[in-house]
């Protein structure tokens, strides 16, 4: 089996599964309980916050554990918008954000917020000047993803951070779901105020994630209730999930350190092969995130290609799983101005640290055959 769909979801690591199991067996107390079972659980929660903070270079009190990327993005956006709406009601984001950012931002419009959705142009990379031009006196939030989930483009987070650094009333949120453990991002150097991470994209468990929120930032809570996590996220903490998330973060960080060229090598190899294929056009520009490679095979239905590869035990995706059913065109490819024959025929390959160069070779060989066969069928 060759699994090249790691941007949709990843297989939990054995260490992650074991962490979950151990915590579930040994630390079942409610972290809010005042007795020993609760105190033990609370201690472990605290340790998890510390470790997550260390891995991100931030403080333990700046970590909020969530149920995943969608909640993290919603909490960052709605949390800031509702807490600071008296300062201003303008929010900036980009046209290629994940739906959990775009839809959250759009939901603010119903509450009287003004939203600027910046285009990204053909490169898929946001122009920092465009952010600068869009900034207003009443802009309270800028939300830009680090790595795009469909295309793999890397956004200029550091430059945007610099731009916003001296604006005390404009917070900067970065959706790091696709980049954590793969592409470096220093939250401090880039002056990021809020950042979202999802567990299941880094070999953790579905239903886990965290939001980094810089100290001092008020967040209007999404959920009201027991006031857990310093009143920012009510609900009994999923301790097993939290410990396993931090474990996944640690393993990813180590992998990155030990195999800094892993994704580059896979990407390079695949690019060379794809470039040599007649019917294939690569959509992801050079020098973007190496773990995501998007290409189109115009005139072929991507689902047909996907299923033909699947018969050969190779798994890729056509576009973001979260957008799979809605429309035919990839909204991201459309946003960078690609013609319809490419926006409707895209295939996304996304790598993990477990993938190998051998798998890339097998994949390209299989893809060539699939294209040949489909060409024959189509006559």
């Amino acid at each position: 089996m060759i699994y090249f769909d790691n941007s949709s979801t990843t297989k939990p690591l054995q260490e992650v599964a074991e962490s979950f199991q151990t915590v579930s067996e040994q630390y079942y107390g409610n972290t809010s309980s005042a007795h020993q079972f609760g105190l033990d659980a609370e201690k472990l929660l605290r340790k998890s916050s510390q470790q997550a903070g260390q891995l991100l270079g931030v403080g333990e009190d700046e970590i909020i554990f969530t149920s995943g990327g969608t909640e993290g993005n919603n909490l960052a956006i709605k949390g800031v918008a509702l807490a600071y709406q008296n300062r201003g009601k303008h929010v900036i984001t980009t046209a290629i954000e994940h739906p959990s950012v775009l839809e959250s931002v759009r939901s603010l419009e119903a509450l009287g917020f003004e939203v600027t959705v910046l285009p990204v142009g053909e490169s898929g990379v946001l122009d920092v000047d465009a952010v600068s031009d869009a900034l207003r006196e009443d802009t309270i939030l800028v939300s830009v993803m680090h790595v795009n989930n469909e295309l793999g483009t890397i956004q200029p987070i550091k430059a945007i951070g610099q731009l916003l650094k001296n604006r005390a009333h404009t917070f900067f949120h970065v959706d790091m779901v696709q980049s954590f453990g793969k592409i470096d991002l220093s939250l401090n150097d880039c002056s990021v105020d809020l950042a979202t991470i999802s567990g299941h994209k880094i070999h953790g468990i579905k239903g886990t994630g965290l939001l980094f929120a810089r100290k001092g930032i008020r967040l209007f809570p999404l959920f009201h209730g027991g006031g857990q996590q310093n009143d920012r996220r009510s609900g009994t903490e999923n301790l097993g999930g939290i410990v396993s998330l931090v474990k996944a973060m640690r393993v990813m960080t180590e992998q990155k350190m030990h195999h800094p060229d892993h994704f580059r090598n896979l990407n390079h190899l695949m690019r060379i092969e794809l470039e040599s294929m007649d019917h294939v056009i690569i959509n992801t520009m050079n020098d973007q995130a190496d773990h995501i490679l998007n290409f189109s095979i115009p005139h072929f239905k991507p689902e047909v290609v996907l299923h033909a590869l699947e018969k050969r035990n190779i798994f890729v995706s056509t576009k973001s799983a979260c957008a799979s059913k809605k429309e035919e065109e990839s909204p991201v490819l459309k946003a960078i101005g690609l013609p319809r024959n490419r926006t409707t025929s895209s295939i996304r390959v996304s790598f993990s640290y477990q993938n190998t160069e051998g798998e890339v070779e097998l994949f390209t060989r299989a893809l060539k055959k699939v294209i040949q066969e489909l060409n024959k069928v189509m006559g």
Partner: protein, 377 residues
């Protein structure tokens, strides 16, 4: 050190070993994103549908009316705030009770801050809402009534079916937080005439971080989270399949005689305390309460020192809802049941029974409690 005895199952329960296995197996074998169109995605989707069916069956509902959430708090918030916001054109009034879980109470208080009119119903000295008070507060512009099925602090069972009947002819939707009832009391959403119902997995020996909201098709609910099109747009986000499979397993382990088993623990516990001459009074009444929860006040004692000493003796009990913990403030539930200066408010401890217990432990617990009480006297 003495073997710790866990008598706080209403705060959270240990995961059943078969549940841990189910979660682990799912992680190992079925990791696809249910929204992916390839085989890994389809397999995950199949398991997800299967779980949804099991959970729907457990409350006699239809599969498509079950929406997975990250737990009871999220489901309560979605039910209360989501329903209020989506039905504002029909009215501005919401009814709930003074003894709800904070996930409902604080959601209702939030609604007040944005202009909704909320009535918090009183309860009798057993912690029970009288149907006639619901009737008398019901207005033409009432759009939602939220009353829990079993109270988490004293175990009081609320007259859900009667309230459901009362509301049958009224526009108001009826939500019940069934977190403490699920698995112990029979739940049939049609029979109870509830429109929305909250369940949490970690109170039934399932995993933390997962639960569901039942919402019948005619209820419009404004989603709380925005994003992908999962859960028919009511709750976006990649479904937490391993946790959901764990919850499904926990439900498949429900036994008909579970309530009887816990009732036997409760009876044994109180008998032992009586035999050992411990003076206590019961908050609430046992006849109309969850068999898994008993809330006792110990004459002349003080909650903090009781809890501390119980903990030293290895008895894990609670002063009320774990979710108000950190600070030991007097329980909003008991405050609603009693007069302001009632002695019982200062010495109330909740004991709740479950999977972690056996008969021997219950006896041992009573013995240790008797020791603590006599020492403190």
């Amino acid at each position: 050190m003495k073997e710790p005895i866990y008598l706080d199952h209403a705060a959270t329960t240990p995961m059943h070993e078969e549940v841990i296995d189910a979660v682990s197996t799912c992680m190992r074998e079925t990791f696809g994103n249910p929204s992916s169109i390839h085989q890994y995605g389809r397999q995950s989707r199949r398991l997800l549908d299967e779980a949804r069916r099991t959970l729907a069956n457990s409350i006699h509902a239809k599969e498509k009316d079950v929406y997975f959430t990250s737990g009871g708090t999220e489901a309560d918030n979605l039910a209360v705030i989501g329903t209020a916001l989506a039905n504002r054109d029909k009215g501005n009034h919401i009814i709930t009770s003074k003894v709800e879980h904070h996930a409902v109470l604080h959601a209702a208080e939030y609604l007040e801050t944005i202009g909704f009119d909320v009535t918090y119903l009183p309860v009798d000295e057993n912690g029970i809402v009288d149907v006639s008070t619901v009737a008398s507060h019901l207005r033409d512009d009432t759009i939602l009534v939220s009353v829990m099925m079993v109270n988490n602090e004293v175990g009081a069972i609320q007259p859900i079916r009667e309230i459901g009947q009362l509301l049958n002819e009224h526009q108001a939707y009826f939500h019940t937080d069934a977190v403490q009832a699920y698995g112990l009391l029979p739940i049939d959403v049609t029979d109870l005439m509830v429109d929305l119902l909250t369940v949490s997995a970690h109170k039934i020996n399932g995993p933390k971080g997962v639960g569901f909201l039942y919402s019948q098709p005619a209820v419009s609910v404004q989603p709380h989270l925005f994003g992908g099109s999962q859960e028919r747009l009511k709750r976006p986000g990649t479904e937490a399949l391993p946790l959901i499979k764990g919850m499904e397993k926990a439900v498949s382990l429900f036994k008909n005689d579970l309530a009887k088993e816990y009732e036997a623990y409760r009876t044994l516990f109180l008998d032992q305390l009586n035999t050992l001459g411990v003076k206590y009074s019961i908050n609430g009444n046992l006849e109309n309460a969850s068999p898994a929860i008993v809330n006792l006040s110990f004459d002349g004692m003080n909650v903090e020192s009781l809890l501390m000493n119980f903990d030293l003796e290895g008895i894990a009990a609670s002063s009320g809802s774990a979710c108000t913990a950190g600070s030991i403030e007097s329980s909003h539930v008991l405050s609603a049941m009693y007069e302001q200066n009632d002695e019982r408010l200062n010495s109330a401890i909740r004991f709740s029974f479950g999977l972690a217990n056996n008969e021997g432990q219950i006896k041992e617990a009573a013995k240790r409690i008797a020791n603590v009480i006599s020492r403190l006297q």
